[in-house]
């Protein structure tokens, strides 16, 4: 597109320098205020919030988890995580819209600046290494999701890691393979099943235990893989949703690049 220079500022609009002056005044005030407020906190490393201390004392016993952070995220404050899941859900829905628009576009016009957008050629060594990494990455993702209630990690971290496996496939440059590992319907369904599953487990609490998101499964022993009641299930639901969401996200951004690359490869054959 031709780069004509429209009048950057019209009379009455803030000039760039004016905007910066306005901001500096505001930012100095804001920073001063925040520091004034923070000065009222207990000194660093002297405060033990009562909420957290109570949970550290009781959570292992009450929830049979060894990772208290996970117990907070999926049980004591599970409703926060429900909200968080649906923030992700809403963001990813927009990406679905973009994907659909992209698909329509592809049927229509062809981009003319493809060569310049190409990310660069991949050597065979890189291909091999990255593809070889996919398996371990997926395994790691499953491990991290399944052990969320025992060790650091959980559905969220595992989900993102699973999604990055897709990125590895892309770096390996295997477009056909990426299409295979990412059948869109399946991914969309996984995402929806994750989000819906979280709600269903919550409703299960309402039906079987009396309150929304209340645990209704046997708790088992702390330190065991099959323990902690609904926590691992909720973690799995989050993992599904996050993985699905990030796969959609990455593929929305990847798709066009890959189409262009494939087109070029076909031309050079």
């Amino acid at each position: 597109m031709a780069r004509q220079a429209p009048p950057r500022r019209r009379p009455g609009e803030l000039s760039f320098a004016g905007r910066r002056r306005l901001f500096v005044v505001g930012a100095v005030g804001l920073a001063g205020l925040l520091l004034w407020g923070l000065a009222g906190l207990p000194d660093f490393s002297t405060f033990t919030p009562v909420y957290g201390q109570v949970l550290n004392r009781v959570a292992v016993e009450e929830r049979s988890t060894t990772d208290v952070v996970t117990a907070v995220n999926f049980d004591y404050r599970g409703f926060d995580t429900l909200g968080e899941e649906f923030i992700l859900f809403a963001a990813v829905l927009v990406l679905g819209l973009l994907l659909r628009a992209l698909a329509e576009e592809r049927r229509g016009k062809i981009d003319d600046d493809a060569p310049r957008r190409h990310p660069g050629k991949t050597s065979d060594a890189v291909r091999l290494t990255t593809v070889a990494l996919v398996g371990p990455t997926v395994l790691l993702a499953i491990y991290i999701t399944a052990h969320g209630h025992l060790t650091p990690g959980g559905g969220f971290q595992g989900g993102v890691i699973a999604a990055t496996a897709l990125l590895l496939v892309y770096l390996g440059g295997d477009y056909a393979a990426m299409r295979r590992v990412r059948p869109l319907t399946l991914v969309t369904t996984a995402k929806a099943a994750g989000a819906g599953g979280f709600v269903l487990i919550g409703l299960g609490g309402l039906i079987f235990a009396g309150a929304f998101l209340q645990n209704f499964l046997p708790l088992g022993q702390p330190g065991h893989l099959v323990a902690a009641g609904t926590i691992p299930l909720l973690s799995l639901a989050v993992g599904l949703e996050v993985a699905g969401g990030f796969v959609l996200l990455l593929s929305e951004l990847l798709d066009q690049l890959l189409v262009l690359r494939r087109r070029r490869e076909r031309r050079s054959q």
Binding site: M1, F44, S45, D67, V69, T70, D113, R116, R117, P119, I144, P152, G153, G154, F156, Q157, V160, I161, A163, T164, L167, F246, L249, L250, L253, L254, Q256, L257
Partner: protein
Amino acid sequence: MIAVQVVALLLVALGATATVMARDPVRQAVVASLYGLTLGVLFFAFQAPDVALSNIVIGAVALPAMIMLAIAKTRN
């Protein structure tokens, strides 16, 4: 406060500044990735391995990847 925290905090401050000051988006994506990593280190130093892990997968891997892809799509 232990030394590793002081260093990590200073690196975080520096990293944030560098991320903001990198006006070229590609360079910025790289700097942002390093910044995410630094934050991860700081969170480990704050005894928060859960957060560190997720910040590393998000801030140091997923987001920079998305940024690079977005840039690749918008470059002309």
